[in-house]
């Protein structure tokens, strides 16, 4: 496992206590899981994602991540409607391990309110939270 100071956390992303990240792209939000999460889950083997058009509230479970070790939930970082999911993960779930902030993105959503985004953790705050988990 990586040490906390080795975990890659891009400065311009926002983070959730449940180890998702959110990146604002114009008026939509791209969502994935953090480097810390992929490192702890280990190799991902199967990913279940929601349907385009589904609507979830912040914190609601919207998919699963299957690793060799266990099954974990994906939680919505903010409330909104699913605009797109990363279809490449069906055949290549390992993209989440190799490129968690790029080709390993999970879904794109249309947020219901931007205040929820403002309330997400900064990289610094998330890293501090990780330090408390160890």
């Amino acid at each position: 496992m990586k040490e906390i100071d080795e975990v890659n956390l891009p400065e311009n992303f926002r983070y959730v206590e449940t180890h998702e990240w959110a990146r604002i792209a114009g008026d939509t939000v791209i969502v994935g899981i953090t480097d810390y999460a992929q490192d702890h889950l280990g190799d991902l083997t199967f990913i279940e994602l929601p349907q385009v058009g589904d609507v979830f509230q912040k914190g609601e479970q919207c998919g699963t991540l299957e690793s060799t070790k266990a099954v974990s939930d994906i939680f919505m970082p903010v409330s909104g409607e699913i605009l797109a999911v990363n279809g490449a993960l069906l055949d290549s779930p390992g993209l989440v391990n190799s490129d968690p902030y790029g080709d390993g993105w999970l879904l794109e959503l249309k947020p219901e309110n931007y205040e929820e985004i403002d309330a997400l953790l900064t990289a610094e705050a998330y890293r501090e939270m990780l330090g408390g988990l160890e």
């Binding site: 083997t45 199967f46 699963t64 060799t68 070790k69």
Partner: protein, 417 residues
């Protein structure tokens, strides 16, 4: 890292569990298995004690022709209590006449030693628990012998004609059998066996020399792509090979009606036992016992056996429990067949997504091909009851084809019987 019977063990190393699983099928990987315990059983009546306590008939257990166990051969079986329940599964090595070593699971050295001593009344035999006194590593995968050719003293003489479930040497330099060495001088017990279903070896060595042997094997294996492999790959490889995990797939339940009849002292037609042993009375009442079956799914999605997970029939009735559920990441379905990355006839461009597999224990016998549903708190998955899981395993390949780079090993036609 995972806490496992008091040992801190890596679930995977840097390559990750999927790469580690696949390298053992296509190349070779090494495992630190020092958590296993060894017990010495020595004396003029050591044979009688094992006949009483171990589920194999040592007079009829080697290869399909069921010849007696002899020095240099080893066999797989189990130690049962009077209820026919498994204390632990084990391998028994015959080192010499009246001189046996048995390898049991992590933390089981004391339990099995006490069990053996308790049943040794009137027998001239010494039982010595060597827990924490033997180091162990495994090298598993079709390239294993090629790697060992580079680290063994007299490699050709050691490996040539070495049969599946035979061994050479001993880890105790004072043993009469100590004649196999790594790096020229380190005595090892080299056993052609393992817990992956693939061709390979288990290497027993004095703990003070284990790191040297580990490093020598990794260095010799570097050009063959050998990597260290963790507990996750070990679990998925053994499951795909239909091997039980003690205390999970076998344990406090009569050791009968399962996919491992070879661990019992059956007559050739499998209608009777060829000897009496502790627990046999209960096993003979097999009609009343539950049944353990392997299963395989349609994709890598698993259920969590810790939830726990149950087995449902087509009416949704609960008929049993899930014992093991993992994903074998080297196999996939194409049409109505399962292929492995090692299958010689796999379709072009075959890239398996992996299949969930494991064992269920159910109230009454299920037939091969029957579909059942597994259910935990999260999901339900459909799986099929099968006799075997990962095809084209290499464990029984003829060793003389596996020692040199020039020979092919992938066609699967030259198995030992």
């Amino acid at each position: 890292m995972l806490e496992f019977s008091g040992w801190s063990m890596p679930l995977w190393y840097t390559a990750g569990a999927v790469a580690e699983h696949q390298i053992v099928i296509a190349g070779a990987g090494v495992f630190d298995t020092s958590h296993m315990s060894a017990i010495m059983i020595n004396g003029p009546e050591a044979f009688d004690l094992l006949q009483r306590c171990f589920t194999k008939d040592l007079n009829a257990c080697v290869s399909k022709s069921k010849t007696p166990l002899v020095p240099g051969r080893c066999v797989y079986g189990a130690y049962l209590n009077e209820m026919g329940e498994v204390l632990d599964d084990a391998i028994v090595y015959q080192v010499a006449q009246g001189n046996y070593t048995t390898i049991v699971n992590a933390g089981m050295g004391a339990t099995v030693s006490q069990h053996l001593k308790a049943h040794a009344a009137g027998l001239e035999v010494d039982v010595t628990d060597l827990t924490d006194k033997v180091g162990k590593m495994d090298i598993q995968g079709p390239l294993s012998a090629r790697v060992l050719m580079k680290v063994l003293k007299s490699p050709e003489a050691t490996l040539k004609d070495m049969a599946y479930f035979s061994f050479k040497g001993h880890f105790d330099e004072k043993s009469v059998a100590a004649n196999t060495f790594v790096h020229g001088t380190i005595p090892v017990l080299l056993s052609r066996s393992g817990y992956t279903g693939e061709f390979g070896f288990e290497i027993f060595v004095d703990p003070s020399q284990l790191v040297r042997v580990w490093e020598a094997v990794l260095e010799a294996g570097a050009s063959y792509g050998v990597i260290p492999c963790g507990l996750a790959a070990r679990d998925s490889l053994r499951t795909g090979a239909v091997m039980p995990l003690s205390h999970q797939d076998i344990g406090p339940c009569p050791f009968i009606n399962h996919p491992w009849p070879f661990a019992l002292p059956y007559s050739t037609d499998e209608t009777a036992f060829t000897k009496r042993f502790i627990g046999d009375r209960i096993l003979k009442l097999r009609e009343t016992a539950e049944h353990t079956h392997p299963f395989v799914g349609y994709d890598p999605r698993k259920v969590s056996v810790h939830d726990p997970a149950v087995v449902l029939d087509s009416d949704g009735e609960q008929i049993g429990v899930v014992l093991t559920c993992v994903a074998d990441m080297a196999i996939g379905r194409v049409g109505d067949r399962i292929y492995s990355i090692a299958s010689p006839d796999k379709p072009e461009g075959f890239q398996p997504r992996g299949l969930c597999c494991g064992f269920v224990r159910v109230k009454s016998r299920l037939s091969q091909g029957q579909e059942v549903e597994l259910s935990d708190n999260r999901r339900k998955i459909r799986v099929v009851i099968v006799d075997d899981i990962r095809p084209h395993r290499t464990a029984r390949r003829l060793i003389d084809e596996m020692m040199y780079d020039t020979n092919s090993y992938g066609d699967g036609r030259h198995n030992e019987t």
